[in-house]
Amino acid sequence: MTAYIIRRLWQMIPTMLGVILLVFILFNWIGGDPAYVLAGKISNQEQIDNIRRQLGVDQPFYVQLWIFIKQVLTGDFGASWSTNEKVSNILATRLGPSLTVLVPLLILDTLCSLGLALAVAYVRGSLTDRLVMIVCTVGLSISILVYIIVFQYFFAYKLGWFPVQGWGNSFRENLLVFSALPILIGLTVSIAPNLRLYRTFFLDEINQDYVRTGRAKGLSENRIMWIHVLRNASIPIITHLMAGLPGLLLGSFLIERFFSIPGIGREVILAVERSDFPVIKALTVYVAVATMVSNLLADLMYKAADPRVQLK
């Protein structure tokens, strides 16, 4: 087990180097000269040279690459180009609001979709199953933008059940007042695809012999579905959940933008609009690390979910 983890961590190094190289090529090479972006329209050559020196982009490429690698290793990505705030500080302060929305959303979404998927898989082929599938397919086809615009207009603006947008100072208020509508929208958008996906996972299992054996020896239907089928379908479910986990770090771009939630997603959009490369670079690297770690965790969880799995 330990040997396996060490080997996996070792294997992350080339991937990490690849991510660094990709980000470097994107931002330092294709991205062009940021000095022109920063200096704006009324810049003179002296100003541009100054900015270039400050950012280190007047150095040759290999020096810049070395600077970037050092930044990744130390976790210090310098300051934002537009606000001069420390990048680490930006990410640290924006993470809380993002998680306030996304963690409850992830938990509720997983519980609802798993329960509903198990239920419709149990009555597969019935009218209920078909109706749910039709609703899911149509629901999936409506743009998330339409959900956000309509829900915000209707529930917040017209009916006044929720604040239209904003963010408070206390965690309790943020979670219960300001996050409620974003979470509701998030659920509406995410349950449909997850329900469909989990349903296929359960259908793969529900026709297996062990289900028939369970029935033959007199197990209750609840026990068969919730214990046997759910456990056997857990590997693809874990894969799916763990793949979504790094997304928590990213926040939700659209929801945070519409509801003025000061999270990471909104910060990314702002950074892209302002060509604020350090923020995007730092976030890309952090999320890449998180993705690799969560992939490793997923593999370790397979072993816990199914003892037959061999880690190699």
């Binding site: 990709l22 397919t137 149509v138 309509v150 997304g247 995007i280 999320v287 993705t291």
Partner: protein, 397 residues
């Protein structure tokens, strides 16, 4: 579609489809697809949308989407114009007085409309001139009076045209500048579908090519491509798209196709690589080797047709995903430029219109997209079932 081509082919059953390498699969798939009613209806809807896109791209319909044919926020015809009673837009005489000061667009079309209105005494100018005498008295002290007379003469034709063209209602309503929402929706479908299809083609091509090379050659080539894959895969898709969008400063339809295409190939790569690993040691490939087929020939002439159904389904899945992605990117302003209409930019405008109670643009763009995406997803499912009937059993439907 395949049917039309099949008409020209010889009538023997196996030759009826335009594919010479593995005809059985396609003929069977088409037969299965035809018996799938949901699939056929979806296909018909998709074909209608694609025809609409082509007609719009060639300028047959909706070529004049940017023309302001109705009054501002003209309501849809089925509601009638009277729901607007009491708002400035409906009570107004056309053109000048219906134009609030913030709307620069109208000024572009009718550059001296306000001045003319002022001269005629139709409208009191705001601000400093508010107290100025109207009508003839005003003209006599105007140093530009002579010039204005000429300008007025020139503008007369133009102004009349604009005034005549403004309808109180439009089939699906009008937007802020009185442009026809129906035409905008059609024009928007052109952008969205074209971007979706083209980006899907780029992504599927890259994924299939990389997957074929990696799976076929194996060894260090496979390692290299897998490394490349894991690098791309460890950056979340949306962040990668935004990062590329941040870096590529110029906006344009081509840029967004490249962004989506270059970042989206990983899923296809994984699938196609797996298929090539499976196929490369099969007998028919060994036989091709025995008759001296080159590597490239074995890869693309012998193996590729056997996995082309996977590619086709991927293409279809990608198209749906990219149409949705384009709408979001354009909404955020990272997509198509402002002078190109897309469903995303329509939704962006509609967001503010909804507060004013003008819901028709939101409904038009949202519904058009939902219909297309539903039809395309259902068609994709039908296509997959038709091409790979084994999967249908698994899905348990």
């Amino acid at each position: 579609m395949a049917n039309d081509i099949a008409m020209n082919a010889p009538t023997r059953m196996v030759r009826e489809v335009p594919h010479t390498v593995s005809p059985g699969l396609w003929a069977l798939a088409w037969k299965r697809l035809k018996s799938d009613h949901v699939g056929m209806v979806s296909l018909a809807i998709v074909v209608v949308f694609v025809l609409m896109m082509i007609a719009s791209a060639t300028g047959l319909i909706a070529g004049d989407w940017a023309k302001e044919t109705g009054v501002n926020y003209a309501p849809p015809s089925f509601l009638g114009a009277d729901i607007e009673a009491g708002t400035p837009a409906a009570s107004a005489t056309p053109a000048a007085s219906a134009t609030p000061a913030i709307e620069y667009k109208s000024e572009v079309v009718d550059p001296i409309g306000d001045v003319l209105a002022e001269l005629k005494g139709e409208k009191k100018p705001a601000g400093v001139d508010a107290a100025a005498p109207a009508g003839d008295a005003g003209k006599s002290v105007d140093p530009l009076a002579d010039v204005m007379a000429d300008i007025r003469k020139d503008a007369k034709g133009k102004r009349a045209e604009v005034a005549d063209a403004r309808a109180p209602t439009l089939p699906l309503g009008g937007d802020k500048w009185g442009r026809d929402v129906l035409k905008k929706t059609i024009k928007g479908s052109e952008t969205s579908i074209f971007v979706g299809l083209a980006a899907a083609a780029v992504a599927t091509f890259l994924g299939a090519l990389f997957g074929a090379v990696a799976g076929y050659y194996g060894k260090w080539v496979d390692d290299a491509f897998n490394w490349f894959y894991s690098v791309f895969n460890s950056i979340p898709y949306l962040l990668l798209i935004l990062a590329v969008a941040a870096v590529l400063q110029q906006k344009g339809t081509l840029t967004i196709i490249l962004i989506l295409g270059l970042t989206g190939w990983t899923g296809t790569f994984r699938l196609i690589r797996g298929e090539y690993l499976k196929h490369k040691s099969r007998e028919y490939v060994q036989a091709a080797d025995a008759i001296g087929a080159s590597n490239a020939r074995r890869m693309f002439v012998h193996i590729f047709p056997n996995i082309s159904h996977v590619v086709l389904v991927q293409l279809s899945i990608y198209t749906v995903g990219f149409i949705k992605a384009e709408v979001i990117l354009s909404f955020l302003g990272f997509g198509v430029p402002v002078d190109v209409v897309s469903w995303g930019s329509m939704l962006n405008e509609a967001q503010n219109e909804l507060i004013l109670g003008k819901w028709w643009q939101l409904v038009a763009a949202g519904t058009a997209m939902a219909i297309l995406v539903t039809a395309f997803s259902l068609f994709t499912d039908a296509l997959r079932d038709a091409l790979d009937p084994k999967l249908k059993g698994l899905a348990g439907a």
